[in-house]
């Protein structure tokens, strides 16, 4: 059985169930790298130019780790466009080449170019090429592709309906994610904060210093872009930015546009990465919209030097600020502070 390695980084959080279903249907064994830890980050940092954004460095570290796990190949897709006319960051466009150049001792790469803009035929051919190493039977490959798509749709529906985060949903469906640290899962009478950003920023608890877990421990109910309806995200983009530009715009601009309008949401936190080109544009758009909306908003910029203390201080200050604003408006009983303290 061929062992296919999938790094638990970057687009893992968005597409893992799809990829897992595809390769398993073709008879391969899927091996996922363990969650990000310090050695992963250090392995990535050592191999890439400093300006490279942190999530890509982390991805490199995961590819290194997969070699140690003894896989036959590593799956590294080049996602160019998921819709015609959209544009993806250069790092995604050339991800396999980047890995080949920087992680020289990695296992052989299994590449695919996904460019919906090139048309259905090209996409189908690309998928068949991906399946060749496993089987020569095109019908078998087609079946695997359909199973993959089903798994993907199911994954998205699960998160939306049950209000789960990707790691939680992956865990539930037999995947290899790890659930967030949450000592207290309040879902009544607490502050509701929407966190928006790319999944590899929101759900990698190492690089974001367990952001979601900390918020939950403060008694906050956290909602995410994956929990919003797809049309809501599209509308959010149109409202804030006129038209969609980036492949991964929905989870930042779209989610921000959607949650900023939601009266049930008390505050929005955008989690972006220093050096992320798309984020530099989206963050500005979101910031301006938040100001117009007058909704409590905070942008958190992560990089490998992000100190935990600074992050914690900002989170505390933000939650405090929303709390005090609400009390100032008289819509919050003093007893709520007691409720939250009990949780901790």
């Amino acid at each position: 059985m061929i062992r296919v390695g999938i790094p638990q980084a970057l687009l893992y959080y968005q597409y893992y169930p799809m990829w897992q279903a595809f390769f398993q249907a073709l008879g391969a064994e899927v091996v996922v790298s363990p969650p990000t830890a310090r050695p992963t980050v250090e392995a990535g940092l050592a191999r890439m130019v400093a300006e490279t954004c942190l999530p890509v460095k982390v991805y490199g570290g995961h590819v290194c780790h997969l070699r140690e796990l003894g896989v036959d190949c590593v799956f590294v897709p080049a996602i160019r466009a998921t819709e015609p006319g959209l544009f993806n960051c250069s790092k995604f466009l050339g991800l396999p080449d980047l890995i080949r150049a920087t992680v020289e001792d990695s296992s052989p790469l299994l590449e695919i170019d996904i460019d919906v803009g090139q048309g259905r035929g090209a996409l189908q051919r690309a998928i068949y090429r991906l399946g060749w190493p496993f089987t020569w039977n095109p019908l078998h490959i087609r079946k695997a592709a359909l199973a993959a798509w089903e798994a993907h749709l199911g994954f998205q529906a699960l998160m939306r309906e049950r209000k789960l985060t990707p790691p939680e949903a992956i865990e539930g469906s037999g995947g290899e994610g790890h659930a967030l640290d949450s000592r207290c899962l309040p879902d009544t009478g607490s502050l509701v904060i929407a966190v928006v950003g790319h999944p590899y920023c929101l759900y990698d608890s190492y690089i974001n210093h367990n952001l979601l877990g900390r918020l939950r421990r403060m008694g906050v109910r956290v909602i995410t872009p994956e929990m919003a309806p797809a049309q809501g995200l599209e509308m959010g983009i149109r409202r804030l930015a006129r038209f969609k530009y980036w492949v991964y715009e929905a989870e930042v601009t779209g989610a921000a546009g959607y949650y900023l309008e939601d009266p049930a949401v008390d505050g929005v936190i955008a989690v972006v990465v220093f050096g992320c080109g798309p984020d530099s544009t989206m963050l500005d758009v979101v910031q301006r919209a938040a100001r117009r909306q007058e909704k409590p908003y905070m942008g958190l910029v992560l990089d490998e030097h992000t100190g935990e203390a600074g992050l914690v201080t900002r989170l505390e200050a933000f939650v405090d600020m929303i709390d005090r604003r609400k009390s100032a408006r008289g819509s919050w009983e003093a007893g709520s502070m007691e409720k939250r303290r009990e949780c901790a």
Partner: protein, 370 residues
Amino acid sequence: MRISVPYVGHLWVALRALAARSGLELVEPPRPSQHTVSLGVRHSPEWMCFPFKVVLGSFIEAIERGADTIVMAEGPQLCRLGYYARLHEQILHDLGYTHVRVLTFNWQEEQILGFARFLRSILGKERPWKEIVGHLKHGLEQLVLMEDVEKRVHYLRPRARDWREVNLIWQVAGPRISAALTGQELREVRRQLLAELEAVDLDPRADPLKVGFLGEFILVIDPFFNLDLEDELGRRGVEIVRSSWIAGWAKIWLFMEMLGLSHGQEIKKAARPYLKRDVSGEGLQTIGETVLHAQEGFHGIIHIQPFTCLPEIMAQNILPQVLRDHDIPVLEIIIDEQTAKTGIITRLEAFVDLMQRRRIREALAARRNS
């Protein structure tokens, strides 16, 4: 409508003539300066590309001079550049310039015909097509001449007995070309400029180093952005060779890539072993040009890029592999609003020294082996 366009490269050489010929009200922003940069940086997202910030500053200066319309490129797949117009508009409106309109043009989809239509829509539908085409043709010819002169300047500066003689001609080239409003005047200016350049006194012993100057497009073509590095290199006896040119770019974007651009295909082929895919911007070109220049025996490469430029970060990560196969020294220069020229010049001088010493060493080694 009082229109302004970013002050990038030699664009305004052609635009001034367009204004004079067509009666279009164009507002020329001042040449970018530290003040432009400060203005732009103040109101731009922190790690946005440097060109965005300077262009924003430039727009604000143009608006202060009376512009009420900005023309910018827009459209997908132009790296972050395609997003500029939207952000610029929001920023300018938030700053209080709510009367300003941002007109955008989608290069990739519209190409030359679309641009002609766009120009006509600005000038007025009553203008005959013949006039529009005439303006376009003239503008393109001016840019082509400007760049032909520039190429010659790159060749002559390191070979002249006194580089100042070359610079004197270069400094007035722009205004003279701008002032030529008809085809005939332009031909005359071309004849004169090239003759003056040929008359420059050359040092017969000059043996300049040959260096490839490549990287992100705007930084390569615009002396403000690249801190006048082409001049600094020319003075130190280095001949610059570039592949990024506005007229060249105009040919790619306004016409189709097939027309006489085998060089583009050659670059892609050279890059293939290291980078199989386009990563937008000039990422692929940087890799491919480095390979080609190494094969052509150039003495070094100067790779210039704005801080956080995504395609160039890809190139930076992939270049070490290229350099393992092709022995050519590369100087990485990363520019943003905080860059101090002194530090760059120091590195530049060290690099020029390094290339000279390598050349001497190789010559000695060759002599020993023969």
